[in-house]
């Protein structure tokens, strides 16, 4: 762990994400306002440091007089929660499928590989949009959709690593000594596939936060008035010329989150010296 933290990219990425998580979990640290409290007398108030801004609303207010700081932090809850939970679900699913496919080989392997190939040719965003439009979107629908969206990469990486370990002498030795399949997978294989999967998981969180943002941006994410970065950007579009702060802060938060997960993922990849290519 300390070896990992000595890598600047890992340290910065990890600390940044932790800070973000703390802020998002305790919005009270920054603002006392609720995310959906409307003060119609205080609409489109600019950020505190600008002319006409007030210390009451640090980052200003939107067209309904809602506090931008509060909405950005509360919106981050949704984005990060969905991103983390869905990426974790995708990783768990991917690791299980990859282990079985890579270790068993044969028809199981062929089915999983072919399913992955088919999935990569699937226009996911279109399907997600259609699904959300039809069944409606609450958090659980979003999480399931995004988890399904991201299962291929962890599966492919785990499968490739497992298949190559399967041929190693020490695995043959373990089999020869009568170790059960589950024992071999758990104590020899799983340990090795965790490192590349950690990298993939980190990068997936960022990707899924963006997709959640895109769906919310199209008006197909969590339902209003619940704040989310994507829906705030969508709301702010109409006031682009006069009130840039409506899009600037959720936009910056979203970009920062993705940049941090990318930084952490790339840093981990270098530090753990893993290849995440599956070939």
């Amino acid at each position: 762990m300390s070896r990992l933290l000595r890598q600047p990219a890992v340290a910065v990425g990890l600390l940044g994400l932790l800070a973000l998580l703390v802020l998002v979990s305790f919005p009270g640290l920054v603002t006392d306002h609720g995310p959906n409290t409307q003060t119609l007398s205080q609409r489109l108030v600019p950020p505190a440091w600008m002319d006409g801004g007030s210390s009451e609303h640090l980052l200003g207010t939107d067209h309904l007089g809602r506090d931008i700081a509060a909405r950005t932090l509360h919106g981050g809850r949704v984005s990060l929660l969905v991103g983390f939970v869905a990426a974790t679900a995708a990783s768990v699913l991917g690791i299980l499928l990859g282990l079985v496919a890579g270790y068993r080989g044969g028809w199981v392997d062929r089915v999983v590989t072919e399913a992955a190939n088919v999935w990569l040719a699937f226009p996911f965003l279109v399907l997600a949009i259609a699904t959300v439009a039809v069944v409606g979107s609450d958090l659980s629908v979003l999480v399931v959709l995004l988890a399904v969206a991201a299962w291929v990469t962890p599966t492919a990486i785990t499968r490739a690593a497992t298949a190559s370990l399967r041929g190693e002498d020490y695995v043959h030795a373990a089999i020869g000594m009568g170790a059960s399949d589950t024992h071999i997978l758990r104590s020899h294989v799983l340990r090795t596939v965790m490192a590349p999967n950690l990298v993939v998981w980190t990068l997936t969180v960022g990707t899924l936060v963006v997709i959640e943002g895109a769906l919310s941006f199209l008006g197909l994410g969590v339902r209003p008035p619940t704040a989310s970065w994507g829906s705030m950007l969508n709301d702010g579009r109409a006031y682009l010329e006069t009130a840039w702060w409506l899009v600037a802060f959720p936009g910056a938060a979203l970009t920062l989150t993705v940049a941090l997960t990318n930084l952490l993922g790339d840093g981990l990849r270098d530090a753990l010296d893993v290849r995440t290519e599956s070939r």
Binding site: V118, F122, R237, V247, R279
Partner: protein
């Protein structure tokens, strides 16, 4: 925009090694069937489970009798499986019915809009490749110097900006503040600038990173050192020997990216009110115009699979290893 098929995952999608091109083509025909059938089945059941299409078609003020009449005329009174069989039979004849709003054939509406979307995707890919590949080679050649580091940093940063955010920023700066470009609409070449710039920025960033790592990897190997020792110029080694090494992952990436651009155009088209299939899809969803939704998803699915197949065949030709590997 969705970048779920990261370059990391591209490896799985290589051609099925054994049996050559013919077999590979056969596999792709099967995949085409599985993908389109799968996506249509999901859509069919989602649409039927999510409420009463008859009530939607009949309109808000319809009486119970009118709704019932629509139900019978649409065949919605039949058992679900009968409806499903009918739906598949219609699809096989490419009959998706008519738009619930305009009464035009749904498939025709989608095909009318398709050229605009394809144009957007094609220009984006060409522009991105023309800009991204040279920058990637440059970033690799200068990887220890400021130019190279700056390029890598810039690419990493650009990759973190979601397309819808970048689109808003470009709209704000180039369209509204400077007033150089039209902010919405389609039809003339200038209308393409902002959507293409939005889509291309992220694609360029990915191409730069991919090219850089491919070229760097080649520069670390013996064959480039050997070429230099034989007296080849550094420039020649870089552009001929090293770049060729990056060509296979690049081709794999570009085909996946074209497919993504077509489905990902949904966001950019909505943002810039560009008249392509993506915007029509979103509009149809909000208007509950299901025939158009189904036709759009069908056409996009078929296109995406065909493009993946074409890329697969291209890879076969590019990389001799894939032909030999059995």
């Amino acid at each position: 925009m969705s970048d779920l098929a990261t370059p990391e995952a591209v490896g799985t999608r290589g051609p099925t090694a054994a049996g050559g091109v013919l077999r590979s083509a056969l596999v792709w025909v099967l995949r085409l069937l599985v993908v389109t059938l799968g996506i249509l089945t999901i859509l069919f059941f989602l649409l039927r489970l999510s409420g009463d299409p008859a009530a939607v078609v009949a309109g808000a003020g319809a009486t119970d009798a009118q709704v019932e009449q629509v139900r019978v005329s649409l065949g919605l009174d039949q058992p679900l499986l009968t409806q499903y069989a009918q739906f598949l039979a219609d699809t096989a004849r490419l009959d998706f019915g008519s738009s619930l709003l305009t009464d035009q054939p749904a498939l025709g509406m989608v095909l009318d809009r398709m050229p605009a979307t394809l144009l957007l995707a094609a220009i984006t890919i060409v522009v991105s490749t023309l800009i991204g590949v040279p920058l990637g080679v440059l970033a690799a050649a200068r990887h220890r110097r400021t130019t190279g580091r700056l390029l890598s940093l810039l690419a990493a940063l650009l990759q973190a900006v979601p397309s819808f955010l970048l689109g808003i920023l470009l709209l704000l700066v180039l369209g509204l503040h400077l007033g150089w470009l039209p902010t919405y609409g389609s039809g003339t070449p200038v209308h393409l600038v902002l959507p293409v710039a939005t889509l291309a920025a992220i694609t360029i960033a990915r191409i730069v990173r991919l090219t850089r790592s491919g070229v760097l990897q080649a520069l670390g190997q013996e064959f480039t050192g050997a070429a230099l020792a034989r007296g080849a110029t550094r420039r020649r080694v870089l552009w001929n020997h090293a770049l060729r090494n990056a060509l296979v992952p690049l081709t794999a990436f570009v085909t996946i990216e074209v497919a993504h651009l077509i489905s990902g155009a949904v966001i950019v088209e909505s943002l810039f009110a560009y008249d392509g299939v993506g915007r029509q899809l979103v509009d149809s969803i909000f208007r509950r115009d299901y025939p158009v939704v189904q036709a759009t998803v069908f056409v996009i699915a078929v296109l995406v699979v065909l493009i993946s197949a074409a890329g697969d065949l291209l890879l076969h030709r590019l990389d001799p290893r894939m032909r030999r590997e059995a």
